[in-house]
């Protein structure tokens, strides 16, 4: 495929068009997209994929602008996939991430793509995994996946990345009660932002709260979760973030956790794809047979129970 070579050469427009393909809901595009991804997967780069999540208002984009600036100043190439939460159900989306990433978006060593989440589960859009494969093949050293931290997003996002980071604000320690368990399993690093000005004391206190809570939930064989203090506005603490990321990656590689995770993620991906195909196939069959209205009527007339109807429809649909 010509597109493959262009992506590997790092041609910006081709990378962008490829991401459009993998995000497209058109059948023809999806076929090309599968072909493309199959080829690209054979030529993997060495990207580290880092996930960033956190509740709205903690300054995720500002942090990424700040941390990203630091990385490009160290000559890293940086790809960013920002899942924009501002979707509406009826209308289109306003994608405003770049208004908060002014400096890095100018830099020739970055590639930044915003995608509307379209209300899909966990704020991860269709195609995010594939988009990260494209950026990996194109030679980006780091790929950031930014999601809005609501509901299940951490869990879904953590299945796409090598290291998962949760950004929180000062004073959020109280929320720990609510998020405690799931979080400790999925996040590797906790970043307390806004460690500046009047909030400094509060930020340190929050970091300490997180540390003690996390040690409480730590499993025996697990690495210690890292809690870092940064100020996106004052650009402090950034060196520490990259140092910590590199340390965790090195350790995980050494212990085989890195490959293990990627293998798990591949399994999850395959499972997901199979489920998707089956689901859409079943949906088609269900509609074409028109069994549901028929049986529903019978249930209404008390000719059979609801569960009986379900059983019959299921058997009928799977039989072929």
């Amino acid at each position: 495929m010509e597109l493959v070579d262009k992506i590997i050469k790092g041609e910006r427009a081709s990378i962008a068009k490829a991401i459009t393909l993998v995000e497209s809901s058109k059948d023809a595009d999806q076929q090309i997209s599968r072909q493309l991804i199959s080829e690209l997967i054979k030529k993997p780069g060495e990207s580290i994929r880092v996930g960033f999540s956190g509740p709205p208002g903690v300054g995720k984009s500002t942090f990424i602008e700040s941390f990203g600036s630091y990385l490009v100043s160290q000559n890293y190439k940086l790809g960013i996939l920002a899942i924009d939460p501002s979707s509406q159900i009826t209308g289109g989306s306003i994608l405003g991430d770049k208004t908060r990433m002014v400096e890095i978006s100018k830099n020739p060593n970055t590639f930044i793509r915003s995608t509307p989440s379209r209300g899909s589960l966990g704020g991860i859009s269709m195609g995010t995994r594939e988009a990260s494969i494209i950026l990996d093949a194109a030679g980006y050293d780091f790929i950031f996946i930014e999601t809005v931290g609501v509901g299940q997003s951490e869990i879904v996002a953590s299945n796409l990345v090598d290291i998962f980071t949760l950004i929180v604000g000062p004073g959020s320690g109280d929320e720990l009660q609510g998020i405690k368990k799931g979080i400790t399993e999925y996040a590797d690093i906790f970043i307390v932002n806004k460690n500046d000005g009047e909030l400094k004391i509060e930020a340190s206190k929050t970091a300490a709260d997180y540390k003690s809570a996390l040690s409480y939930y730590k499993k025996l064989d697990e690495l210690e979760k890292q809690v870092l203090l940064v100020s996106a506005i004052e650009q402090t603490g950034m060196e520490n973030v990259i140092k910590t990321i590199n340390q965790i990656i090195d350790q995980n590689k050494l212990k085989g956790i890195f490959d293990e995770r990627r293998a798990d993620q591949l399994e999850y991906w395959i499972e997901e794809e199979v489920k998707n195909i089956i689901a859409s196939d079943i949906t088609k069959r269900l509609t074409s047979k028109g069994n549901i209205p028929k049986y529903s009527e019978k249930v209404m007339k008390n000719e059979m129970s609801m569960y009986e109807a379900v059983e019959r429809i299921t058997k009928d649909t799977l039989k072929q």
Binding site: R12, A13, T90, S93, I94, G96, K98, T99, R113, S114
Partner: protein, 717 residues
């Protein structure tokens, strides 16, 4: 209502209901401010007032009726026309001509690079030099600007907020080198940074250091420049950005309170500086509302200042400049603008303004020509000399309607002011982005009313002119202006004492660290011929440059069109597009260069999104190259460029080049909206612009055109 039992009123009500076939209680019309206007007002509507006092007099508490007892009967308002363009030489010629034709005060418009603290030779400002105002790089330019205009006799108003330190310093030094002591300088510097963060976006530093600079200037002028107004607290730009009158009134006064606190935090007594605070309001087409707004503003400010402990009567009095609304001007059938401006001017006068700028009718298209500026000025001269409005002070006082409206506006504004105070004041509210969002919401509602036809704009959505007149406009060759400025900067940099300048700039940087008054070291640096850009950078080292976060409202526009056929037609086209192409049409909406007026861009973004487009918002102040990268990485179908400051002739071709540089096969189409003279249309089309939308364009029609253009373009592949 006691009158309801009154026979006279009952008879009237019956007649009214018979004539209109409506119940009296349903016969109200709601204004943008959410005030119900009744078809008739009576004596009963003068009761239960909390703010307005029925028997007050002009020049007396609570100053509703005017700051002075005699008002225009003694001296009419000052005709103060805002102007400036290209080089200092050309602006100076223009000023002198205007003064000979009856204008009384000067009001300087600076170009965007100067506002944002960049020198004309900075690469970032290529398209903006000399465009929307005059370019000032050093004190030499300032001296040329006032050549043969004696600064001890002429009051000068300067619209400057971002680069307020080097510009005020240049004005002081220019005066000194004319032989005029700073204590004799009179005029006003806008110095109102809070509203820049809300609407106009010509800030440089973050909110906190910016507030410190405002306070420094109030402190300095209160001690050394007794005839100079240290600040012009401006609601004008809020209304221009779409705020209704209650929002304009409330946010302006809340800004004023914040400045009072900032000055008091420097240890000044409120009466030391409050008499030199001045205001600036917009006057739109809602005739009676605008009159009531000025009366309410004075009433509320007197109360506010009394609460601050002001003892000097002059501290209690709100004095204001007014300007007719720029956003009410239309590109279509432009001579209508003369009529609009005349009525707006009349509102300002009946409201009791101290000075007035009337817009030229061609300002929806370009900067005024000599001829259009003359008509604008004559609008005021006719009011002063022919209509008799100067003969009676506050002639509408006692009108049931006006007094009631003044009270209603005061109440509504007061509620918002209280809300802001509870949030901890305007700096905090601005940082949280609340006022900006409220103004954008109001702007989007107004636009939807016009586009849906529920608000008539003559010549635009009704009574269109079948033969649009063509109008000659002022053309500015900004490349020539830029070259001239660059040469001047070079000459100065070669002849000045470089070491002394460097030292002065270091002193300035240190002063910023020490938190001492910055104007003093700034004057030193300017005197030695440091440039505006150098001074701004010296401070930037300590404060950094501010980048705004952009929040957007959504759903506000679409709500006005539920069930609207045209709106649904576009929605359907977009749905169809998604089915065929596997994604929604995606459009990047941008502003380029130093032009920060983003109302248009924001309205287009939210309304397009409401119709179903995916809309990328670019940050402010992008270069064409940045925009190209952004567009290509997000694989957008189209770029919409919003331009209001005339930089498009440089910036748009630059964008086209940028796109081709990254992707020689780029199929991204570009459309342009905003203030674009018709003379430039051909140039833009030649540069492959696909569509141009002038002021007053219907957004739904524009959206339909854009989706059609995108579909056509894709089918060509």
């Amino acid at each position: 209502m006691t009158n309801k039992s009154n026979n006279g009123f009952n008879t009237w009500q019956k007649s009214f209901e018979k004539e209109t076939k409506k119940n009296f209680s349903d016969a109200k019309s709601e204004t943008d401010e959410g005030i119900d206007i009744k078809p008739v007002y009576t004596k009963d509507d003068l009761e239960n007032f909390s703010f307005v006092q029925n028997n007050s007099l002009p020049g007396q508490w609570p100053y509703t009726r005017g700051p002075k007892a005699s008002m225009y009967t003694n001296r009419p308002w000052t005709i103060r026309q805002y102007a400036g363009f290209s080089t200092a030489e050309e602006s100076n010629e223009f000023y002198k001509k205007n003064l000979e034709s009856g204008q009384k005060g000067l009001s300087v418009a600076f170009d965007l690079p100067t506002h944002r603290g960049y020198d004309s030779d900075d690469d970032l400002v290529m398209g903006d030099v000399g465009k929307a105002g005059v370019a000032i790089d050093t004190v030499e330019d300032m001296k040329i600007l006032f050549n043969n205009i004696p600064l001890d006799q002429m009051s000068v108003s300067m619209t400057m907020n971002g680069a307020v330190l080097p510009i005020l310093a240049s004005f002081i030094v220019a005066g000194e080198e004319q032989g005029v002591d700073r204590s004799l300088l009179s005029g006003t510097i806008q110095n109102d940074i809070l509203k820049e963060f809300m609407v106009r976006n010509t800030y440089i530093y973050p909110p906190e250091p910016s507030m410190k600079i405002v306070a420094d200037i109030i402190e300095f002028t209160s001690k050394e420049m007794p005839k100079f107004n240290s600040i012009s607290i401006s609601g004008y730009h809020m209304q221009e950005a779409g705020a209704d009158n209650v929002l304009e009134l409330a946010y302006t006064l809340a800004d004023g309170m914040e400045y009072v606190r900032a000055a008091m935090s420097k240890g000044l007594d409120v009466d030391d500086f409050a008499p030199r605070l001045s205001f600036f309001f917009a006057i739109g087409t809602d005739f009676f509302m605008e009159i009531a707004k000025l009366r309410a503003a004075r009433t509320l400010w007197a109360k506010i200042m009394k609460d601050f402990g002001a003892k000097n009567e002059r501290s209690l009095i709100l004095r204001t400049h007014c300007q007719t609304s720029g956003v009410s001007l239309t590109e279509k059938d432009p001579y209508n603008n003369i009529i609009r401006t005349s009525y707006e001017a009349m509102s300002a006068i009946l409201g009791g303004t101290q000075s007035l700028h009337t817009n030229s009718f061609d300002e929806a298209i370009a900067l005024p020509t000599d001829e259009s500026a003359r008509i604008a000025r004559n609008t005021q001269l006719i009011l002063q000399n022919e209509t008799g409005v100067t003969k009676t002070v506050d002639p509408l006082a006692g009108s049931y309607f006006i007094e009631n409206l003044t009270e209603e506006l005061s109440k509504k504004a007061w509620d918002i002011i209280k809300e802001i105070e509870e949030l901890g004041g305007m700096t905090k509210a601005v940082k949280a982005g609340i006022p900006k969002l409220k103004i954008e919401e109001s702007a989007t509602k107004k636009q939807a009313k016009v586009d849906s036809g529920s608000r008539v704009v003559v010549g635009v959505n009704k009574y269109k002119n079948p033969k649009e007149p063509s109008v000659d406009v002022r053309v500015i060759d900004n490349n020539r202006v830029r070259d001239d400025q660059i040469k001047k900067i070079q000459v100065i940099k070669e002849s000045r004492d470089t070491k002394a300048v460097e030292k002065a700039l270091t002193n300035l940087t240190n002063a910023a660290k020490d938190e001492t008054n910055l104007l003093i070291p700034c004057i030193e640096a300017i005197k030695l011929r440091a440039t505006v850009g150098e001074v701004s950078k010296a401070l930037e080292q300590v404060y950094g440059r501010h980048f705004a976060k952009s929040l957007s409202v959504s759903g506000v526009y679409g709500k006005h069109f539920e069930g609207d056929k045209e709106f649904m037609k576009v929605e359907n086209k977009i749905r169809e597009f998604e089915n065929v192409n596997g994604r929604r049409p995606r459009v990047l909406v941008v502003k380029m260069g130093q032009d920060g007026h983003d109302r248009g861009a924001k309205i287009v973004a939210t309304s397009f999104a409401d119709m179903g487009f995916d809309v990328d918002m670019g940050p402010l102040f992008q270069s064409p190259k940045d925009v190209a990268k952004d567009a290509i990485e997000n694989d957008v179908h189209a770029i919409g460029v919003s331009t209001l400051a005339a930089g498009h002739k440089t910036l748009v071709p630059e964008l086209m080049r940028g796109l081709k540089e990254i992707d020689p096969n780029s199929k991204i189409i570009v459309f342009v909206g905003g203030i674009i003279p018709e003379q430039d249309y051909e140039f833009l089309y030649k540069n492959n612009v696909s569509a141009i939308f002038g002021p007053g364009s219907n957004i739904i029609e524009s959206a339909e055109k854009v989706i059609d253009l995108i579909s056509d373009n894709l089918s060509k592949e």
